[in-house]
């Protein structure tokens, strides 16, 4: 059985209450509707905003989000070191910090400048000016020592930071500075080998892209990409640090003793053309002789004087004009074109062989033979020796020297050029010419770089230039024999090295004046004294050229000013290079090699041994 619900009805006070209740219900409904509407509108707006963010322009917000998390760090490539032939560091980059500031964040520039001045050792006014700058980044001091950077950070100055950088240092102070060159503050090569091999030394910066959190820590599993920096290669030079240092020291002492204005000493291995030492010294305004910043071995030209005579003699022998023992009459002077040429010492008319002429360094005898040789043959021979053209060094600012073409020669060109005047050469050209004679007539290509080393220690040797045969081996050996007599019994006796047979030649050249000519009277004449030689004469392993610019009048000759420097240096060098003396070679039935004491030497010996074994095999 079902029961229908009953509805209570009524009138009077009860019905008015019902009306009130109905009104309240209506208002409630309206409010609910209104709130619902507001919610609907808000939801619509939110929905629209979501569509806008997620659909219409999502990339913008994705980028903003990534920009907050993704950190791109540049991985700087460290500039490669420059090492000597034995792997000793000559120049290398080390981490340093620079003190930088954001002036906008500094409230009290004067106070900050005062605090920093004591630590950095910089003038307060300079620092205050930088800290008051309108820029957002200023350097206060660059590449300071770690201790200084730590002290600056300890000051806890707002807006002052330490920024890591690389500084280029040369542990040997000023040694080989002219050769190595310099870099600017940003580690770009600006001179010397630093400039020539800038591309090889610089390397390429890398990049690390990493997703980092608030504290800078890496978000695990996040974006992490590394493109490693390609470090600069290490440049391995042919220079030997000990030989370089001793060359600079002995040359400075020698120039000081000779009262010279400056000097050059350069040493080379004749077989390979490797330069072992290249020193340039100059007398400063304070009168002290010290290593120069200019690599004059390649950039300076001078009239070589009598060290040219072996080159002239080799042309005379090579063309068959004369033999070493061919004798001719040599008077005290000879008149050519419009000039009178004399020897440096008075003598009567002598019967001298070609060897005697070289031993006595006779200008007259050389000129007489050169006239028989002829202009064209002499010119060609000098060109073959490398005069008048830049060497294979490729050094910035390298000079060509002056060797005028035969067509432009005057009536006195032949006699003057034959004795080394009226022609200018660089020290490296003359050294290479002497190395040619020491190398059985084959001209080596001078080089300063053995090769490069990469990060993994893989060595890549430098391509060396081809050797050019200038004179036949027999003629070269004849000239060497004649030059031996110069040192044993001629003008170069002070170039002797105890225990070793030395071949060499002295040179005493007149130096051209700025106004032209060589000077009218004796007081005005300036000299360039030189000595070029090699040892052991029987199997040359080391060629050395010493030039003293403007020695004092008492010691102006090559035999007095330059030969003693050669001797002192050679005595040191033969020990350093382990070149056996004549005594040590006694009984030796093969090319003398004693022992390998340096890595470079060991490398040479190992290569030679492997070649020999391959031939035998």
């Amino acid at each position: 059985m079902s029961t229908a619900p009953t509805v209570a009805t009524g009138t009077g006070r009860g019905s008015s209450r019902d009306l009130l209740r109905l009104g309240a219900q209506k208002r409630l409904k309206r409010r609910i509707l209104l709130v619902g509407l507001i919610f609907a509108v808000l939801s619509g707006l939110l929905g629209w905003r979501l569509v806008e963010l997620q659909v219409m322009e999502p990339d913008r917000y994705l980028e903003r989000g990534l920009a907050q998390r993704i950190r791109t760090v540049t991985l700087p490539a460290v500039r490669g070191a420059i090492v000597d032939r034995n792997g000793v560091d000559l120049a290398l980059s080390v981490p340093r910090r620079s003190v930088v500031a954001n002036p906008g964040m500094i409230e009290d520039p004067a106070g900050a400048a005062m605090a920093l001045a004591g630590v950095l050792g910089t003038d307060i006014d300079v620092l205050e000016a930088r800290l008051s700058s309108q820029r957002s980044f200023v350097y206060l001091d660059r590449q300071v020592e770690d201790e200084v950077a730590d002290n600056v950070m300890a000051l806890d100055l707002s807006g002052v930071y330490a920024q890591p950088e690389q500084a280029r240092l040369r542990p040997g102070d000023g040694s080989a500075l002219a050769l190595l060159g310099r870099t600017d503050i940003d580690n770009n090569g600006i001179s010397g080998l630093e400039l020539i091999y800038d591309g090889l030394l610089s390397g390429t910066n890398g990049e690390m892209i990493v997703e980092a959190g608030l504290g800078g820590s890496t978000i695990p599993g996040g974006e992490y990409r590394v493109e490693p920096a390609e470090q600069g290669l290490t440049l391995v030079l042919t220079i030997d640090r000990a030989l370089q240092f001793e060359a600079e020291r002995l040359l400075a002492d020698g120039v000081e003793a000779a009262g010279g204005k400056g000097g050059v000493l350069v040493a080379m291995r004749p077989e390979s053309g490797e330069i072992l030492a290249s020193a340039t010294v100059t007398r400063g305004d304070d009168g002290v002789v010290r290593p120069s910043t200019e690599h004059k071995v390649a950039t300076w030209t001078f009239e070589p004087g009598s060290i040219m005579k072996p080159l002239t003699m080799s042309a005379i022998l090579e063309t068959g004009t004369a033999a070493p023992d061919t004798v001719r009459e040599v008077p005290d002077s000879v008149f050519v074109h419009d000039s009178d040429f004399k020897d440096s010492f008075p003598h009567g008319t002598e019967q001298w062989s070609v060897a005697d002429i070289l031993r006595q360094s006779s200008n007259v005898g050389t000129i007489l033979w050169a006239q028989e040789l002829g202009e064209e043959a002499l010119y060609r021979q000098l060109l073959d020796y490398g005069l008048g053209s830049v060497s294979s060094l490729g050094f910035p600012g390298e000079a060509r020297g002056i060797l005028t073409p035969v067509g432009k020669w005057s009536g006195t060109s032949l006699p003057t050029i034959a004795i080394g005047q009226g022609v200018s050469t660089t020290p490296i050209q003359m050294l290479t010419a002497f190395a040619t004679m020491a190398n059985d007539g084959r001209r080596p290509a001078p080089t300063l770089v053995r090769g490069s080393l990469d990060d993994g220690g893989v060595f890549t040797p430098t391509q060396t230039g081809d050797q050019i045969e200038v004179v036949s081996p027999g003629i070269a050996r004849s000239v060497v024999s004649m030059m031996e007599a110069v040192v044993s019994d001629g003008t170069g006796t002070q170039g002797q090295v105890p225990g070793y047979r030395v071949a060499g030649k002295t040179g005493t050249a007149w130096k051209p004046l700025a106004k032209g000519g060589y000077g009218e009277d004796r007081d005005e004449v300036r000299y360039v004294a030189s000595f070029a030689g090699f040892l052991p004469a029987e199997a040359p392993e080391l060629v050395i050229l010493v030039v003293v610019d403007e020695p004092a009048r008492q010691t102006y000759s090559g035999g007095r000013a330059a030969a003693p420097i050669f001797s002192d240096y050679a005595q040191f060098a033969v020990r350093q290079l382990r070149i056996p003396s004549e005594f040590e070679r006694t009984g030796l039935n093969q090319v003398g090699r004693v022992m390998a004491t340096t890595p470079a030497r060991a490398f040479d010996l190992q290569a030679a041994e492997e070649t020999a074994l391959a031939v035998v095999g």
């Binding site: 079902s2 240092l169 004693v594």
Partner: protein
């Protein structure tokens, strides 16, 4: 006053517990624990999975921290190596040794130098023998 309307046949549609058949009762009693066990297992499995994920994440985070720390140490080591390399080169440079010898140690260059041969006289291929003992090592008695 509210009236309650109930459909007819209440006793059939809503049987009392005591009137249920024994078969229905058996099914109910056997499926309930199975669902409960499965639910518990699922919850447990989820918990274990979450725990494993949390553990893996913590391992990942600590690994990342370690990696970052090693990277920092590597960079520091490389920088330190460069600094020490420069210091070694500076300390062994001939100019520093010469200035220390002639300055701080008061040494003077000898007037003459005596060079000793490095090879057995007459046999250039054989170097001179070294000292029998290392003269620079400390001997412990």
């Amino acid at each position: 006053m509210t009236a309650v309307v109930r459909p007819a046949g209440r006793s059939e549609a809503y049987p009392d517990r005591g009137t249920r058949s024994s078969a229905t009762s058996k099914v109910a009693t056997s499926s309930r624990p199975a669902f409960g066990a499965m639910g518990a297992l699922t919850v447990f499995g989820l918990f274990v999975a979450l725990l494993a994920m949390a553990s893996l994440h913590s391992v990942l985070v600590s690994g990342q921290f370690e990696f970052d720390a090693l990277q920092d140490r590597l960079e520091y080591g490389q920088e330190r190596s460069q600094v020490l390399r420069e210091e070694v080169a500076r300390l062994e440079s001939p100019s520093r040794i010469l200035s220390a010898a002639t300055g701080r140690l008061g040494m003077t260059p000898p007037p003459n130098r005596l060079y000793l041969p490095a090879v057995v006289p007459g046999d250039p291929l054989r170097p001179l023998p070294g000292p029998s003992e290392n003269p620079f090592s400390l001997r412990v008695r």
